[in-house]
Each structure stands twice: as C-alpha cells, then as structure tokens.
Symmetry: C2
Subunit: 188 residues, 2 copies
C-alpha cells in the first residue's frame, strides 16, 4: 500500500534566526516518515539543499517547497483539496492544545495529513483552520521534540532503524563505534 502523503508545514521561518532549528525540523520530518516539507516565511534555498543532500546520501525523497501564503495553503488543504480534490487533515502542534496521546486515536487515517509546526507568532487563524490543536506536553520545550514525539506516535515506531530507497550511505547499528557502509566507495 502506498503511503498517504504526510506534510509538515513550518510557519514563520526567519532565516537569520532559525536555520538550524528548521533544518532539524526538516530532517526529523524526513527521518520519521514525512513525504513533504513546506517552509513558510523567509525563502532559504540553502536549507533545502542541505535536506536534498541528505536524501542523496541516505536515500528517500521527501520534497521541500516554499509557501508564500500559509493560511491560504492551509485553508485549501484542510477544507477543499489536499492534492487529490478532497480535504486533508490539519493538525497543529501547540503547547496550548489538547493532549496528543488522548486525541490521536480519534484522527482519521485515510486522508493526507499536514502537521503544522509553529513559529515565533502563530496567527489565530491557524488554530481555527486546523482540525486539531494538539500539545505534546503543556510545558515550553521545542517544536523539534514535539514534531518527533507526534510523528513517532503517529507512525508507531519512528525511531527504529530505517533505510530509505536509494541510500548511498547506510549506518550499521553498533554498540561501540561508527560503522558506515558506502555503496559508492565499493564500486570504485
């Protein structure tokens, strides 16, 4: 069965301030199973190149794109067209939301999902346009951690060893050191 699209939308990116946090968001999205990563706010081709470089080395094909109007995009996705002509499910991660573990079983799993990772100031409309406003704990911590914990719960076991199609580098789990298999170096 083909995986349904799983989108992550990062709101309000500020290139001068958030590049590493946002790179972490993108890499967590990729590692834990997202198919699309959307950046709203400043444009940053270099950030996308970093993610694509990880795709090239470690496989996989998560697509990155920039979105000018996050609210317009979100309204279309959640109310009209998630890419196949029907609405998708919009889930906003916020420390003010309901406990994610309690609500997660209520969420339908037969539609594309967008997970919204907040930025500096989240517009109130994001709360309204999202079908779910969910908190990963009600303590201030990290949107990277919230994304990881939600995706792990959603996919069941996000932190397990995974190899993506097309990987050049594969890491072999080891109790005491670094073991990396490089398929290209073997061909030389």
């Amino acid at each position: 069965m083909k995986q349904l699209p799983f989108h992550v939308l990062r709101l309000g990116y500020r290139k001068g301030r958030d590049p590493r946090i946002t790179t972490h968001l993108a890499l967590v999205s990729r590692a834990l199973g997202a198919t699309h990563f959307h950046l709203n706010g400043d444009e940053d081709p270099e950030l996308f190149e970093n993610v694509n470089s990880v795709n090239e080395r470690f496989g996989g094909e998560m697509e990155c794109s920039h979105i000018d109007s996050a609210l317009g995009w979100l309204k279309k996705f959640s109310q009209h067209d998630a890419g196949d002509g029907a609405p998708g499910v919009a889930i906003h991660l916020t420390m003010y939301g309901e406990p994610y573990r309690q609500v997660l079983p209520q969420i339908r799993r037969d539609r594309p999902v967008v997970l919204i990772a907040g930025g500096a100031k989240v517009p109130g409309d994001v709360f309204k346009l999202s079908h779910y406003n969910l908190a990963v704990g009600n303590q201030p911590h990290s949107e990277v951690a919230a994304l990881a914990l939600f995706m792990d719960a959603w996919f069941g076991d996000g932190g397990s060893p995974t190899h993506f199609d097309g990987a050049v580098l594969k890491i072999e789990p080891s109790p005491n050191g670094k073991i990396v298999h490089d398929s290209q170096s073997k061909n030389k």
Copy 2:
C-alpha cells in the same frame, strides 16, 4: 519515592553556533523529567538564565551547570561516583548506536543516569566511557528529537500534561486557543 537523578550532558557546545538548539535540549530535558543539565564546551550564563526563567514561570527545579572536562566528569560518573559514591549509568545517544527501543529494557533503573547528547565532534572516548551507545533511528536528524524520544521511552509518557511544583503559569489544554492561568495575576 524520590526520583533518581537524571542528568543530561551536552558535549562540545559552541556559543556562536548552537544557542537555540542547546536551549531546546535544555528545555526538553526539563519538560521530560531531567534533574540536571550539564553544558560542556563554551560557557553561556544567558542560556542558563533562560532555563531558570522557565523554571520560575512554569515550576520545577532542573539545575544547570557548566562542565570543563566532559571526559573527566563522565569517567567519574560512569566508573566511580554518580554523586552518591557508586557508579551511575552512562547512555550516549548517537546515530551510530544500537536501536534504543531494543536495548532500553536491559538498562538498570536503580541508579542515576546520564544521557549524553552529542555535539559537533564526539570524542571516541565517549563511546568507550558510556555503558550504552544508542541510536534513535540510524538516519541523520536531530539531537533534540533523539533526546525527546529516548526520554519519552524511558519515563513512559514524557509528552503528557505535567505541572511542576512552584509553577506560576499553568497552561490549560484547549482544543481551539490559548488558556493560561497566572497565579500571580490573581493575587494582585
């Protein structure tokens, strides 16, 4: 039962490059149940002030400290004295390690723990001085995500709503907005 000490050690902090990632590490440590956060590398009183400010507003008492010699500290903790005269358990999070979910049930739970979150370049001795080298997935992603997923698995349910002792601000979970209770504003 008093909680056993749970330490998080951040290696190789670079003040000019990592402040937000490291702040996220500290806040995730606090939110998910650590008692101590140790910073190795550059000193950064401002970062500690940020964490202490969260303690003051949201309660809790995770202590922050700077460590000059991470290897010396780790050797003492893991081989001799975790603070009570006996060795503690040292767990190093690394993408090269063994799958954390498989190994976690083997780890003893009657001793203080230190969780080591890597930095830019992790010295080989960290692999040797750690009792466990564990991977949260073998894909490159984020030490913040790895810390969160490990701590969530360790404590069973790290992402549930929690209020710490001494909290001034308490967030009330809500499906559609922000509800914050401020105990100080009520007293005025």
